[in-house]
């Protein structure tokens, strides 16, 4: 018997919360899915900053830790 193991989703952490997202999604796609305007945020993947230009070409994988930050009021 052949065991078929197809993974459609993967678990990653976004801003401290565990999320299930579509397998193979890249960062630009994720921001789009979360309805976040890419122009106003900065993304860090596993502690490395992902520039706006490389968000499209950076694919996510199971267990990734993502931080999406922006500017808020502060002193």
């Amino acid at each position: 018997m052949v065991k078929v193991n197809t993974v459609f989703f993967m678990k990653i952490r976004i801003n401290g919360e565990e999320k299930e997202i579509a397998a193979g999604l890249n960062i630009a796609g994720l921001l789009d899915e979360l309805k976040i305007r890419p122009g106003r945020v900065v993304v860090e993947l596993n502690r490395a900053i992902i520039s706006r230009e490389t968000q499209e070409s950076t694919s996510l994988k199971e267990g990734d830790v993502l931080e999406i930050v922006h500017f808020v009021g502060g002193g």
């Binding site: 801003n15 401290g16 976040i36 900065v42 860090e44 922006h70 500017f71 808020v72 009021g73 002193g75």
Partner: protein, 257 residues
């Protein structure tokens, strides 16, 4: 007389730097800052609320084309966290000037001085224009200046305390040896506090709570604009010396006998 303020690579007309925290909403933030005349505004770096991403963004109200955006490292308790925050902030594309604060304790919000020095070294090396928040300690100010910070920002009193300039003499010593701008950061409560800082010879004043938490933030923003401007002019004009006894202002000749 043209009296411009150079900070980092740019020149400014206003010597008042304001924070953007604690306002009722973005509209009040924008209006108060407009009235304050400030050209540099501080912001914090925080996680986006991913469950409600539709929220408006602060920068929709404070255009980086109009204001110099000065990201802070508020909430950072280690040099590493502060450096990480600055790198993220720089990636946002609003320049490379940062307000470095490494907090030592959440009750006083006093800075962790050794960690601030450590972070400043890394950030200067990475090309940041570093404006560190420090205690009113001349030795620390000197060290940060030597590291290559673009200004030093001694506190007047604890952040948000409104206690005013607690130690004008330390500020004077910092000013005497400074080769970079000295900006009083934190502790200002009202317009006279801002004026005192400027009269001492400080190059600028940074505040947030004093305006944002005033009963009428817009009116207080105007008061602070005038307080900073008045203090600066008084400093440039050169105040009279203090004397114990009176000196008559009216002529002593021609008094009716």
């Amino acid at each position: 007389m043209q009296d411009v303020f150079k900070l980092g690579e740019k020149f400014y007309q206003s010597r008042l730097i304001v924070g953007t925290g604690k306002y009722k909403n973005f509209e009040e933030t924008r209006n108060a800052i407009e009235v304050s005349g400030a050209e540099i505004v501080t912001v914090a770096v925080r996680r986006v609320n991913i469950t409600d991403p539709h929220k408006e963004n602060l920068l929709d109200y404070l255009s980086p084309n109009k204001y110099t955006i000065l990201p802070n490292t508020a909430g950072c308790y280690t040099a590493d966290d502060a450096v990480r925050t600055c790198r993220l902030a720089r990636e946002a594309g609003v320049g490379n000037m940062v307000k470095l604060e490494v907090i030592g304790d959440d009750r006083t919000l006093f800075p962790d001085v050794p960690a601030t020095l450590e972070a400043a070294k890394v950030l200067v090396k990475e090309g940041f224009i570093v404006l560190p928040y420090i205690t009113d300690d001349p030795i620390t100010a000197q060290k940060l200046q030597d590291i290559g910070c673009a200004a030093v920002m001694p506190l007047a009193a604890p952040i948000g305390s409104g206690l005013g300039i607690r130690n004008p003499y330390n500020i004077l010593i910092i000013l005497e040896q400074a080769t970079v701008p000295v900006i009083v950061d934190a502790g200002v409560g009202t317009a006279s506090d801002a004026a005192i800082a400027m009269e001492l010879g400080c190059h600028g004043v940074l505040m947030n709570t004093a305006i944002a938490s005033a009963r009428d933030p817009i009116l207080m923003a105007e008061a602070m604009r005038l307080g900073v401007a008045a203090g600066r002019k008084a400093f440039l004009a050169g105040r009279i010396g203090k004397k114990l006894y009176a000196t008559a202002s009216s002529p002593l000749e021609g008094i009716l006998a």
